[in-house]
Symmetry: C2
Subunit: 122 residues, 2 copies
């Protein structure tokens, strides 16, 4: 793969090799992050984190987004196992899954908001 035959710093390369996650793990990680890396999905998660249960229509109202966009976002989130739906009559209520990964809620939702607000990144 790599073109040059002589590593510049073999020691560091070896050390890095042992600490870098495998490609499969990296792919799995990327899949999780990809789910969060979408404005609609992220806002859906924030809304559900705030009020813990909402139906599709109300969710669209709260986000000021089309019902289709919200529906698709919920489908993806459900596929990733992050939300559950409860059907009451003809209305479907969504909420964060019971064992919603705390690190995600804590950091990737809350902390990341402050991050994007506070640091323009030079």
């Amino acid at each position: 793969m790599a073109d040059h035959a002589h590593p510049v710093d073999a020691d560091r390369v070896a050390r890095a090799k042992t600490r870098v996650p495998s490609r499969e793990d990296a792919v799995a990680m990327a899949e999780v992050l990809t789910v969060l890396a979408d404005p609609t999905r992220a806002r859906v998660l924030h809304a559900l984190d705030a009020v813990e249960e909402l139906c599709v229509g109300d969710l669209a109202l709260a986000l000021d987004a089309s019902e289709d966009a919200v529906g698709y976002a919920l489908r993806v989130l459900r596929g990733a196992g992050l939300v559950t739906n409860r059907k009451q009559g003809r209305v479907v209520f969504y909420r964060l899954v019971a064992g919603f990964p705390e690190p995600l809620r804590e950091h990737c939702l809350r902390a990341l908001v402050d991050l994007t607000r506070g640091e323009p990144a030079p």
Copy 2:
């Protein structure tokens, strides 16, 4: 946008509206996450987090990836302001930017690895 005229639970909608990040903030957040949501870029960041300085060729060796792929990843990371390059002779060394967001390093890198390992997500 929303099709139905009558919110099912107006109170919750109102509460959610105040807590959901604005669309611009959500987009900014998504952009940051999108940078991390790629196997190659994530592994590059991990490698640099481990040994703090590597040239492009050695990085390709450590990740067992093509030099082009690594070069592109570094280009994107540099564009996002997450890595810096130091040119010494004809070799270019990369490292995490000085004020690398600690939340990212702490959680989105380290914690997320454990998360993807430990939970298959039902």
